[in-house]
């Protein structure tokens, strides 16, 4: 007999507890206890956890039933969730597949000059551009050009969409205290949730053969900084200037476009930089759910304990991160100095 029998007896709950006791399936623990000759007696002062109480009263669920219930609940609404989310997220698959196709099929002698030109256009910095060219050539020399392009394609699409969705959310947050109170805890959750945990519900919801499954994982993880910094940036805009905008009769839309967004731009750009870094980090983890690119090689290195493959791919990711970071930081610095500060 278990330690909390007396409690249920005193409370007069014995009858309620013993109802359908006979029908209740035997738990693995009970089975083990029986076969092992252990009589299942717990120490009298064991914490009254669900499992301990279950021993005294069969009507109380075991902890594994609770997790089971959670799973069943999720599976129960899965069909409906899928019905809504599937068409909604379908364009993401098209976008990812399309971009991957473009990056993979464009010949290197077009792609590399194009990317170098892009980094010059964005950063206007010679050292950064030369460095980008060097890294791209290095990838090609060690035959990692294709996987690097795949990773880059995913990062481009996911960062682009994060900015497209995140900036409006950030603007909404900065305009409404209620929105901020609701969204901040969600952002905290997204930022602290272990990255692997993102993947579990996604696997249940979507087919692993679709590109959107890793697209969603990356966007959900990487969108946080751009939302946060857009909100912060707009809230930090010099209130004297905002007051002047009001005093000259600007409409809310004019105020946003002419004053708030331009003045918040350095902060928003810092958020975009962080978003790029985080989508790169997540793209590696998302290789577990079929995201192509350098992450696949890292995963292969871990699976088959292939040290060389893992390290080369890992360093490749670092190099990719460095060029993305330098280019976006140079762009940020350009925004800052564009105001005539000397």
């Amino acid at each position: 007999m278990a330690g909390y029998d007396g409690v249920f007896d005193t409370l007069g709950l014995r009858d309620w507890c013993d109802q359908d006791k006979a029908d209740a399936p035997m738990s693995m623990a009970q089975l083990l206890a029986q076969s092992g000759g252990d009589d299942g007696e717990s120490t009298p002062l064991a914490f009254p956890s669900l499992d301990t109480l279950h021993e005294s009263c069969a009507r109380i669920s075991q902890t594994r039933d609770v997790t089971e219930g959670l799973e069943q609940g999720f599976l129960g609404i899965r069909a409906e969730l899928k019905y809504v989310l599937d068409p909604l997220t379908q364009p993401l698959s098209w976008l990812l597949d399309g971009t991957l196709f473009v990056f993979e099929t464009t010949p290197w002698w077009v792609m590399i000059p194009l990317l170098v030109a892009l980094s010059w256009f964005v950063s206007r910095s010679k050292p950064v551009t030369v460095f980008v060219a060097g890294v791209l050539v290095f990838f090609s020399i060690i035959d990692h050009y294709d996987v690097a392009m795949q990773t880059l394609a995913i990062v481009f699409v996911c960062t682009g969409l994060s900015v497209l969705l995140g900036v409006p959310i950030g603007i909404g947050m900065s305009k409404s205290q209620t929105a901020q109170r609701i969204i901040v805890p969600i952002l905290d959750l997204l930022q602290t949730l272990p990255t692997f945990v993102y993947l579990i519900p996604l696997i249940f919801l979507f087919s692993v053969t679709e590109s959107k499954i890793y697209g969603i994982a990356v966007i959900v993880y990487a969108i946080v900084p751009v939302i946060r910094l857009t909100d912060l940036g707009i809230r930090l805009v010099d209130q004297d200037v905002v007051e002047a905008a009001n005093a000259f009769g600007m409409t809310p839309a004019q105020k946003l476009a002419r004053v708030e967004l331009p003045l918040a731009l350095p902060n928003i750009m810092a958020g975009v930089n962080q978003t790029i870094m985080m989508s790169l980090a997540m793209v590696v983890i998302a290789s577990m759910i079929s995201a192509p690119g350098l992450g696949v090689l890292v995963l292969r290195g871990i699976r088959s304990l292939d040290l060389g493959v893992g390290i080369v791919a890992g360093l490749g990711i670092v190099l990719l991160a460095v060029i993305l970071d330098r280019v976006s930081k140079a762009a940020l610095a350009r925004v800052d100095t564009h105001r005539g500060h000397q």
Partner: protein
């Protein structure tokens, strides 16, 4: 009819400000209101008439509510009770769109910290009010250029605000307000952030512009010298109440409150008081010379070579307005107190 009139204006800061108005009207004082209800009394029963084409100066120390008061005129702050009439129309009854029209077409504002758009050039800053109104681009350019030239900023059109000194930035602020082509100009401590010498220049510029344009200017300052120099009508504010208002010369000669006596005792009266304020009716016909009514006492002391036995005839053009005995002039230099003798 006055251009702008403030009638029975109250401003109380706190969540239940409207209910608190009655308590204050019933005689509750500022500390009591704070202690018993946690509301801050900002402005109490303000009644001011501002005549068209005049400079009304609202003077008070920090915390007296002067910046709060000026923000009521274009409703950057909403009052707890009272009326604000602009051209006879109650600003409190305006809807959003009408309020924006008022801010665009009737009132422009100059700010203590300039509040220029840092990412726009001087020219674009001066164009801002007109572009908000949706005026033709060519008209915007022409107006902005004209007013920038008028405040002495030829050749600086393509600079950014951060590249200019404080005085020049405020010139841009004034050009921006003038370009809006409004009848009323609100100036919130417009010169307080400037060096004393530059401040004097700016005051002269303002008086020069005013002689030409005759706008209705509401000017906020904490500096009595500045107030006396530019005011046609002076309103002195203390702890959210008007202590005295009227013609500046009159306030200087007949202060009705110890607070104002304190204030005016530090003033160089010879430089501020004008002959017309201390002259007497003509009672003789032998004079030592003529002096114009608007000359300062300092001018007359220089003219008389410091001889207190002289008697001057006061003229304005061809009219004789009165006479001034140098002995009366000397007496006027001593501050009169309401409590002591004199």
């Amino acid at each position: 009819m006055s251009k702008v009139a403030i009638r029975g204006l109250y401003k109380i800061f706190g969540p239940k400000d409207r209910e608190m108005v009655e308590l204050v009207q019933g005689g509750m004082t500022k500390p009591d209101l704070m202690e018993q209800h946690g509301h801050v009394l900002g402005l109490e029963d303000i009644n001011v008439d501002m005549a068209a084409g005049e400079i009304t100066v609202i003077m008070g120390l920090s915390g007296s509510g002067k910046s709060t008061l000026i923000r009521h005129l274009n409703r950057l702050i909403d009052p707890s009770a009272g009326e604000i009439l602009v051209d006879g129309e109650d600003v409190m009854k305006l809807g959003r769109a009408q309020l924006r029209a008022l801010r665009q077409k009737k009132m422009s504002m100059v700010f203590q910290k300039f509040a220029l758009l840092p990412h726009k050039t001087v020219q674009e800053n001066a164009e801002m009010p007109l572009s908000v109104q949706g005026v033709d681009v060519s008209e915007q350019t022409a107006q902005a250029r004209k007013w920038l030239a008028r405040v002495g900023l030829d050749g600086f059109e393509d600079r950014f605000p951060a590249q200019l000194s404080g005085g020049m930035q405020q010139r841009v602020g004034i050009a921006r307000a003038l370009a809006a082509n409004t009848d009323i100009m609100l100036m919130d401590e417009a010169f307080s952030a400037l060096d004393p010498l530059i401040r004097t220049d700016m005051q002269d510029l303002l008086l020069e512009l005013q002689a030409e344009l005759q706008k209705t200017i509401v000017f906020i300052t904490h500096d009595l010298d500045e107030a006396l120099k530019i005011a046609d009508h002076l309103v002195i504010l203390k702890d959210g109440r008007v202590v005295q208002q009227g013609e500046p010369q009159d306030i200087l000669l007949n202060p009705n409150d110890p607070y104002i006596e304190d204030f005016v005792s530090d003033i160089n009266r010879a430089r501020v008081l004008r002959v017309r304020s201390v002259m007497k009716p003509v009672s003789t016909d032998s004079f030592d010379g003529d002096v114009t009514a608007n000359a300062t006492l300092e001018d007359l002391i220089t003219l008389s070579d410091g001889d207190t036995n002289r008697l001057y005839r006061v003229t304005d053009g061809n009219d004789v307005l009165g006479q001034l005995d140098m002995k009366d002039l000397v007496k006027a230099l001593v501050p009169r107190t309401t409590t002591g003798p004199g």
